[in-house]
């Protein structure tokens, strides 16, 4: 599995990724995705996010993501005529 941008999150990320790919191929693609609540990877995702959120903030990436989302709205309004 590819690495996390934060090496300290690698282990939890790998566990989540493996779980997600298994769930995606064996359940979601077969129409048995269920809901967010009963997702078997939810606990692993939470653990992973706990680690990742800190790393994103430290590197200022959370702000870049926010800016991109704002910019996206502007561009869509400008070039696609959407509101």
């Amino acid at each position: 599995m590819s690495a996390s941008l934060a090496p300290e999150c690698n282990e939890v990320k790998e566990r989540y990724d493996t779980c997600f790919l298994k769930w995606y191929s064996e359940k979601y693609l077969r129409g048995q995705g269920g809901t967010n609540e009963n997702n078997e990877c939810a606990a692993m995702f939470k653990e992973y996010q706990k680690c990742l959120t800190v790393a994103l903030k430290d590197r200022g990436i959370d702000k870049l993501v926010e800016e991109a989302r704002e910019d996206n709205k502007d561009n869509d309004a400008l070039y696609l005529g959407r509101k």
Binding site: L5, G33, G34, E67
Partner: protein, 236 residues
């Protein structure tokens, strides 16, 4: 300034396999030899819309390349940060999969250097409506290149120029000499040429992953990745 480029392609694999390969495409250079430039991949959100059953995923990739080298060479170091600058860029990827309706839409955009060049790639994967429904997948890729270099910096340069006007009237800044519009157009077209090259590689990479999935299934692929990781740890 905006430059747009659209291409169509058909994968000779069924829709579910193509979507799985999409999630796996930066997994490991062992699985995809065309992903060596991807340093990391992280999921920042993943949820199913309870009304539609669609899966929404947001990921951040860190890629080794930043601006295309030709664009980089065109710009003064005051903008690019020179050769010492961080040589990687963050990409924000959002995707939506609808299994019931049989489509996946994706969008990738760069998070740094957006003032120089913003590249937004949108893809829509669909199950064909024809008889080949179970064995092929159509994909339409649209890439939009947009440089706002002059737009953003002209104001600042203008201010600097007015205060220095009498001291150095003939010199002129980078944009004054070459013209902001011309620079924007050059950046967009240089980037577009490079991206068209890369689209082919990205398809080849997807193809390799799907072949592996066909041969050994997802569990086989996951197992191979796990073994690869362990080997990596041993040699590290």
């Amino acid at each position: 300034m905006v430059l747009e480029h659209t291409t169509n392609h058909a994968y000779s694999h069924p829709f579910p396999t193509v979507t799985l390969a999409y999630f796996l495409r930066y997994c490991s250079p062992q699985l995809n030899p065309f992903a060596k430039h991807v340093l990391s991949t992280d999921t920042i959100s993943s949820h199913i819309d309870p009304e539609t059953g669609r899966l929404h995923t947001t990921r951040i990739h860190l890629k080794k390349s930043r601006l295309p080298p030709a664009v980089f060479k065109l710009l003064p170091t005051s903008i690019t940060g020179g050769n010492e600058a961080n040589k990687s860029s963050y990409i924000l990827e959002t995707s939506v999969v609808d299994m019931k309706e049989g489509w996946m839409s994706t969008e990738s955009r760069n998070l740094n250097f957006v003032g120089v060049l913003s590249v937004v790639e949108k893809q829509i994967y669909t199950m064909p409506k024809s008889q080949a429904k179970d064995s092929t997948t159509d994909v339409e890729t649209t890439v939009v290149f947009r440089s706002r270099l002059g737009d953003k910096l002209r104001g600042r340069l203008g201010q600097a120029a007015s205060s220095d006007d009498e001291a150095a009237p003939a010199k002129g800044g980078f944009f004054a000499r070459l013209g902001a519009r011309g620079i924007q157009r050059s950046i967009e077209s240089l980037a577009s040429t490079k991206t068209v090259d890369q689209l082919g590689k990205s398809r080849e990479g997807m193809g390799i992953i799907m072949e592996r999935l066909r041969q050994s299934g997802v569990m086989g692929v996951l197992e191979a990745l796990r073994r690869g990781r362990e080997r990596g740890l041993e040699t590290a």
